[in-house]
Amino acid sequence: MTALGLYTFAGAGLFALGFWAVAVRAHLVWKVFAINIMGSGVFLILLSTPARGDPAQADPVPQAMVLTGIVVAVAATAVALGMALRVVARTGRPFLPEEGDLETRE
């Protein structure tokens, strides 16, 4: 197994870990953590699989993508945490209530 292959698998593992956590953890902040982990898993896959040209040469395309991706992830985290705090401010709890608890009221 090559070093790069190792990172590819790690990326897949991180993504799966994040996906699992976002599904099972009800706490909103942990959901945001988990989404960040999922993102970094994808970035690892992108950077560790040189599909184009010489494997020894760094591929600028995924690097550009990951850079953009990191910026987008920071923005998304900021928005998500801001909204999570608003949920806490409105409901007093950092969880999403079950569907139907709040909405069906007239």
């Binding site: 070093a3 790069l4 190792l6 990172y7 698998f9 790690a10 593992g13 991180l14 870990l17 994040g18 699992w20 956590a21 953890r25 009800a26 706490h27 902040v29 942990w30 945001v32 953590f33 988990a34 960040n36 982990i37 970094s40 690892l44 950077l47 560790s48 760094a58 690097q63 990951v66 850079l67 990191i70 910026v71 992830a73 920071v74 985290t77 900021a78 945490l81 999570a84 705090l85 806490v88 401010a89 007093g92 709890r93 950092p94 969880f95 999403l96 209530p97 079950e98």
Partner: protein, 90 residues
């Protein structure tokens, strides 16, 4: 097994371990610290896969700014609600 591969193995193992720990812990402060550590390890990984420029960006943005965002959330949350010890809302 080459020393380089050993180093890669350590980095990968650390990443997975940190991620797992931060995702399962119930302590928000601990998770935040772990997240910053995770970001820094990730920067190391970027160096290892041949993207040192990204390592800088990751350290600054991924670990730094995002970490600060989580820290802020931690502070606000510990002020507004009791530290959640029981997780399941239902």
């Amino acid at each position: 097994m080459s020393p380089a591969l050993v180093l890669d193995g350590v980095v990968v193992g650390l990443l997975l371990a940190l991620a797992l720990r931060l995702l399962v812990t119930r302590d928000l402060f601990e998770a935040t610290v772990l997240f910053v550590a995770y970001g820094l390890t990730l920067a190391l990984a970027w160096v290892r896969v041949g993207a040192p420029d990204l390592a800088l960006a990751e350290a600054a943005l991924g670990a730094g700014v995002t970490g600060a965002l989580f820290l802020n959330a931690y502070k606000r949350l510990s002020r507004e609600v009791e530290q959640p010890t029981e997780e399941d809302p239902s």
